[in-house]
Amino acid sequence: MLRTLGEYVLLMFETFKRPDKGPVFRRQLLVEIIGLGIDSISIVAFISVFTGAIIAIQTAYNIDSPLIPLKMVGFTTRQMMILEFSPTVISLILAGKVGSRIASEIGSMRVTEQIDALRVMGVNPANFLILPKITASMLFNPVLIVFSMVVGILGGWVACIVTGLVPSVDFIEGLRGWFEPFTVTYAIIKTLVFAFIIASVSGFLGYNLKGGSVEVGKASTRAVVVSSILIILFDLILTQLLLV
């Protein structure tokens, strides 16, 4: 365990070096932004719309006291999306989608000696392969998360109108009330930490893989499990640090 942690830290030192060639790095970065980020937009949109709708409907159903105004539905939907759902749950979903992709891509390069081929050419493989993935995730995941917030809230609003549970004006009033901009900052900070966890842990598990193609499958599963656990742990830690 301690040994693994040490190997991870060493690999990160190797990863965070200046890239050999700027243009090559930028091209890799673009490829990763498309592969890891743009390709995830549809799943993020799908899940966010429905979750926003579900949160709104459930909140509306649970308000049966006339003392609680209906605008609370808009407020709750917004808070839930910004504080927890978009940064954490979407990051967990990205851990599944992006983490397994990174681990299996790098892992299969390991078993087919492509990483060794990079090394003997005089390239720093960790820097060449992992840095663009970490950078792309940290640049693009916040975009995905903000997008998820917007789409989720939209989903909640539409659901309220379609079901007729909450009038549009009430929902929007709740949406705009008691807004603290720091909640968004908090969400972005969480997202950045989670993005780093997903890309670096999955990269590490793929990079340090030993064995054959069976191990590639195992590494990609492990990447999802380990990064999900770490995301939840760091969610707790960051919430304590930032909100309390």
Binding site: D20, K21, T112, Q114, D116, V120, M121, G122
Partner: protein
Amino acid sequence: MIEIAKLSKSFGPHKVLTDINTFFEKGKTNLIIGQSGSGKTVLMKCCTGLVEPDEGQVSFDNRNFSSISEKKRREIRKEMGVLFQGGALFDSLTVEQNVMFPLNMFTDKSMEEKLDRVNFCLQRVNLQNVNQLYPSEISGGMMKRVAIARAISNSPNYLFCDEPNSGLDPKTAEVIDQLISEITLEYGITTVINTHDMNSVLQIGQRINFLYHGQLWWTGDKESILQTDNPELKDFVFSTELTRRLR
């Protein structure tokens, strides 16, 4: 010239290489031969630094390679071309991008110059009209040839080929052997080739190192190998009908 001194390597209790002392000459095709499992690939990986030897030294033209940092090794590695036993082509890149890769990483050539060089290298390994294909779309022998083209694209000073012609038909195998020995002479490369193919040995074996159970058992050239009276080497050399008839 590459020099190897007192090199040993074990994996756990399994001693793979024992006290290897030899050298590989510049402008010559230096062969490492031996049965499957005799340690050829491990010896080559000790030279390129992919395997850390337990003991011993490797040096490239009097530059120590064994006890230096990974960063300094990178500088020497930029002068190496390596052909892996399995090819190790980048499967997310096309044939053209594979061969161009070392040029992209280590030169400031223009796209036009790089393309010229890539096409030149592909031509030398007899590959045309495959530039835009991916490694998964070409045959095993073609992959091998692309890997050779990639290894030579940045004009290396040291060329390591692990079984360059295994899996190729006799005619293509000969073309590849010929190509490697030509460029070795032409550009004064220090070339090291692993092989267990007696055809190659007799064709391009200018300096032959015979490994037997991880020990350097015999060294010589393609003429002396047929006259040897070393029993283990004889056993290896004359193991096929063809070479037996030759005798």
